[in-house]
Symmetry: C2
Subunit: 468 residues, 2 copies
């Protein structure tokens, strides 16, 4: 067995907390780590979580764990949590809540005691179950990589989770316990074929082992190979994105040149935190070669306009219900996601462009009074048209071609002159003409949310973590 | 269902042979294709193989198939083969022999009747079984791509195999047969949990469907995604190889710069037709940074010498048992894999270098009689040493450092002068000095086998074909 510090690439004396339920797996892990701790000299803590379910059985397990750790001479710590209450409060299933709360407790104790490593007893059968589950539920290559041997914790203070027993099967572990005369407790709920996990453990995997001996052990080697493939493709996609993404925008022509396997990964990274269905929609948009938009999770949309793909925040909240006279200064709309501002063009040009998603319209009229308080903002209406050269064009059609979806269009303001004619539709009509002296600049800014692309390095680990 | 010609990217009227066993799957496929043939206008042939096993049941099946096809108005053809005899003659298992012989018959009939397309009735459950089987037996990403919807046949005259029913589950197919009142026969040997395939079909897959409904249908979508990933990685590896392979040699430093996922694929392609264990050995050789060699299948070895990786044929058959005087002309050794030749250096230099694996030694003595019939060839002996500048070096050590393995060394000839001193060890000592006027060139050529790298495009399909 490789030591936790080895797996994590840390110094030999790095302290380790062991998730210790008292089952055969964690008993074997704790016994092995206690031996290793003597030669390597790392501090070891057996960390037991009492989930507040399974009544007397859980109390028995905690007592067993305390005694077991004491006999090994390993520090012991038990934390009691109330999984049912947490599950109810957060609208989660019991199993999901137990997992979430367990890892939170682990993280809290590790932070408090300054322990950088958590070792859990996941083994080859757990890995095989995870892979089968994901395969059956629908997953890409990432999901088939199974349970990672090493991953970062989700906590900002760092720390790693390691699984030294992953190469070993349940049978290996039971044989080890028998050989050493190690006692362990059994969680009775694991024996009932009540949920997908248990059917996989109790029926699918044993049948698979009957069909192909050593299936679980073999799958552990396979997932390690798949991990390399996934890492390679993710790395290529990230590299491509780094060299092709300019001001949070991608060129559709570049995207169309990508292999489908890389295109999917580039889009997943670029669009950020979305599902296969969103990536598929974005792929279709890019393939179509026409402008347009598709909705994304977290109230955003992807817009393809003029061959450029962007992710923009959707608009919500108040647009403009009543006409508002044009005034110097700034007007905030749609919960602050949209601002319109007016200033002298000279001042505007002295500033750096606020944001790549700003659009600016210049009004080349020298008399301030002709503009201020005469021009006015109002919400876009269905029948609005704007003069483009010699012909009139529907404003909605202009915006649609510009990749602005209907949900955003209904919030957008248009600028009208004193006669009530639309003179500017942000993102679409008549913007960005060159200003003459004394002109005024009317700027619309759409504020992007932070895309969190910097944090994506950790997402990979999180995607691949066990469902346990 | 997509038509065969659609899947294969061929014209609408491309003729189709259907592998028609009379089971529910092929009955559904034939019925669907018979309808489609009417609208698309492609000729259709129902092709039944009688395997010469299962006695009366097989006769019944053939009769059923004939009547069924006649009723649909589809041409019918039955071919009788003797699987047990073939299996015995080729040392194969019954199932493997049946598959091999079946596809041979398909190909023969297709060639004879000029039918370019073979449609088989593989469905989503078959695909799921294949994926589970490969996952349990150990496979890389390629194996997890499952049964391809389209692949080339192995026959040189071309043709494609297509599987239009892959997106549909067994249940879908049975429901279709019920709805249309279609009868079918059942192969009784499919019901016995006797082999891995049947355990997968009868136990693993049903349990997996209990744990996760629609598992097989979901896996069909997953394998399509994995196919893209595999295709992308294979493409990148092939591209890399194309730009980095010079004269059938690769630079180890270049290889060390590759991502492990690409390195494995580049080596698989470069080494040609080898197993994971050979690729692993070659990777270790490259990582070591030292010269050496590892054995490869088909009597070859990979040699790393001076930072250059090559695949060379092993030597077998007769080397030199008795000393042979140096003569003008050519001497063939080791079943013709090795030739040594002598000619005037000027003539040698006028020729293009025969082969990148040739090594040449020049003897700068002007009197022909001093060389011819005085110098002689003999087999390399254990204690042989050669003078290198001021010191003597063991010949075997020189060859070993040059990546020539022991199995090759024992066949190699050395050249001795009239006094019996070793003057040249091919691949290692004293070769390639510049010739003076009137010098003689002694050339050793190691003939490579054809690497078949040109044909590798088809290998991909072959690797991924169903085990059926």
């Amino acid at each position: 067995m490789r030591a936790p510090w080895e797996l994590a690439g840390m110094p030999r004396d790095t302290a380790v907390a062991v998730g210790f339920s008292g089952g055969a797996d964690s008993v074997a892990l704790l016994a092995l780590l206690a031996e290793r701790a003597k030669t390597d000299g790392f501090p070891l803590l057996a960390l037991h979580i009492h989930h507040g379910i399974r009544g007397a059985e859980a109390d028995r397990d905690e007592a067993f764990c305390r005694v077991f750790a004491e006999r090994l001479g390993v520090d012991f710590c038990a934390v009691r949590v109330d999984v049912p209450a947490w599950a109810k409060a957060h609208g989660m299933g019991l199993e999901e809540a137990a997992r979430e709360l367990r890892y939170r407790c682990f993280a809290d104790v590790m932070a408090e005691r300054k322990i950088p490593l958590l070792a859990t007893a996941h083994h080859a059968d757990d890995n095989a179950e995870t892979v089968l589950f994901r395969l059956a539920r629908g997953t890409g290559l990432d999901g088939l990589c199974g349970i990672p041997a090493v991953r970062k914790t989700e906590r900002p203070e760092g720390g790693m989770v390691v699984r030294p027993l992953l190469p070993f099967t349940k049978e290996d572990i039971l044989a080890f316990c028998r050989a050493r005369g190690l006692e362990f407790v059994t969680d009775s709920t694991n024996r009932e074929p009540c949920c997908a996990r248990n059917i996989l453990r109790l029926e699918v995997l044993p049948a698979l082992e009957r069909a192909v001996p050593n299936a679980a052990a073999t799958m552990a080697r396979t997932t390690a190979l798949l991990w390399q493939d996934a890492d390679c493709l993710d790395g290529l996609a990230a590299e491509w994105l780094k060299t092709h993404c300019r001001e949070n925008a991608l060129c559709a022509r570049d995207l169309r040149g990508l292999h489908p396997a890389l295109l999917g990964r580039v889009l997943a990274e670029f669009l950020g935190g979305c599902e296969a269905v969103h990536i598929g929609a974005a792929e279709a948009l890019i393939a179509s070669g026409r402008g347009g938009s598709v909705t994304m999770p977290r109230d955003r949309y992807a817009s393809l306009c003029g061959g450029i793909l962007r992710v923009l925040p959707n608009l919500r909240g108040e647009g403009i219900s009543e006409p508002v006279p044009l005034c110097e200064g700034t007007l905030a709309l749609c919960d602050g996601r949209l601002t319109v501002s007016v200033q002298e063009a000279e001042k505007c040009r002295k500033h750096k462009k606020v944001h790549s998603l700003s659009t600016t319209h210049y009004i080349n009229r020298s008399e301030k009074s002709v503009i201020i308080n005469q021009f006015f903002w109002r919400g876009l209406r269905d029948g609005d048209r704007i003069r483009m050269g010699t012909r009139e064009v529907r404003c909605a059609a202009l915006l649609q071609a510009g990749g602005i979806p209907a949900t955003v269009r209904k919030h957008l303001p248009v600028l009208c002159d004193a006669d009530g004619a639309v003179v500017w539709v942000p993102f679409a009509g008549r913007g960005d003409a060159e200003p003459t002296e004394g002109a005024y600049a009317v700027t619309l800014t759409l504020w992007e949310e932070r895309t969190d692309r910097q944090d994506k390095g950790e997402d990979r680990d999180v995607r691949n973590q066990s469902g346990y």
